[in-house]
């Protein structure tokens, strides 16, 4: 056995060379991969986890009086501007925020009595044709921050930065009995409680409106709005940089959730307020008051059910709710 083993070792004496060369080549390839990976990391910057605000940073940010300054900003901008100053002031705003005034229904800047009027300007008919071949269209002008499936009750405001469906919509949004003692349930169970139809999934889409964008929002599809839920909240900026920095940003901010049904089942559209734009108007909802003075508790909300008595859109014997068609104006963001 010993002799046979020695003979075998003699046959292996040249083997280490190609093995070593092969191993060195693998190391060289791996080194290249690592270098490329590190370079990619540097180009992309920090990972979402590393770039998130810490609790103390959020607390400091919360302490800033954004609600008060936003209301003040709204009041100042509701004051009528002298006729001769309108063109230079609104013109400066339009240049700063890249507004396309030629698309406005009224191009004459002197027509707008104040900056708030100009901010919620109407568009000329036909400048935003509604695609008739698609059943779901964009409800506004803006930039798509994120979209995709909602999984186990979690959503993403930008890639990798999450917020919960339950925190965003609040308890008992659809069908579930609501009691004073309704408490939080596991996120996965919350999504299940929405009773999504077999063969369907839940999706979300986040669209950011920059200061110069058209600030009215329209119906993205034909649907029936049954219910409105108003969450008084903070007025953090919602620009993409802050959305990448603060996890759960949309669950903290002032917002109005409209929810109902479309051809495939559950449908909701939420207007999330921001610094200086905390006032949200819904055209068929005169009772709605947003960004009002006073303290509020986190998670506090006010519900309103739309029915025939408060709805001029529905005909006799029509089902409860406000029926809106694709492209129809639903509401607007206002300064303040």
């Amino acid at each position: 056995i010993g002799a046979a083993f020695m003979n075998y070792c003699k046959t292996l004496k040249w083997t280490p060379i190609p093995l070593g060369v092969g191993f060195a080549y693998i190391c060289y390839l791996q080194y290249g991969h690592i270098k490329k990976r590190e370079k990619r990391k540097q180009l992309k910057g920090v990972t979402p986890e590393e770039g998130l605000a810490s609790p103390w940073q959020i607390n400091v940010y919360k302490a800033l009086p954004f609600r008060f300054t936003s209301r003040l900003w709204g009041q100042v901008n509701s004051l009528d501007v002298p006729h001769m100053l309108r063109k230079p002031i609104y013109g400066l705003y339009a240049r700063l925020f890249n507004c396309n005034v030629s698309e406005a229904l009224v191009e004459d800047l002197t027509w707008y009595q104040n900056l708030s009027d100009f901010f919620r300007r109407e568009l000329k008919p036909g400048v935003r044709p509604v695609e008739q071949t698609r059943s779901l269209v964009s409800p506004c002008d803006g930039k798509v921050l994120h979209f995709g499936k909602v999984e186990k009750g979690w959503m993403e405001q930008v890639k990798g930065v999450t917020y919960t469906l339950q925190g965003f919509l609040g308890p008992s949004i659809r069908g579930q009995p609501h009691t004073e003692t309704t408490s939080e349930i596991p996120e996965h169970d919350y999504q299940t409680s929405l009773s999504i139809r077999p063969g369907n999934s839940l999706y979300q889409c986040v669209i950011y409106l920059a200061p110069g964008d058209y600030h009215r929002f329209h119906s993205p599809t034909d649907w029936t709005i049954n219910h409105r839920r108003h969450f008084p909240g903070l007025l953090f900026s919602v620009n993409p940089g802050v959305a990448r920095w603060i996890r759960g940003l949309f669950n903290m901010n002032e917002r109005v959730v409209l929810h109902g049904e479309w051809e495939h089942g559950f449908f909701s559209m939420t207007a999330v307020g921001a610094t200086n734009v905390g006032s949200i108007g819904i055209y068929f909802d005169e009772d709605l008051r947003t960004n009002v003075p006073g303290r509020f508790k986190t998670g506090e909300y006010y519900d309103h059910h739309y029915n025939q008595s408060s709805n001029n859109n529905t005909k006799d014997n029509a089902p409860e709710g406000v029926q809106v068609v694709k492209g129809e104006g639903v509401g607007e963001f206002n300064l303040g």
Binding site: S138, D141, G199, N200, C205, I207
Partner: protein, 32 residues
């Protein structure tokens, strides 16, 4: 300001744009 849409749709539903893309009112946002 931000608009967030949350809705149920068939499992083969697909969005017809990319994150970061500018979009205009009335443009189709899905394959449906």
């Amino acid at each position: 300001s931000t608009i967030v849409l949350i809705f149920e749709a068939p499992k083969d539903f697909e969005f017809s744009f990319k994150p970061g893309e500018k979009i205009r009112l009335g443009e189709g946002i899905s394959s449906l």
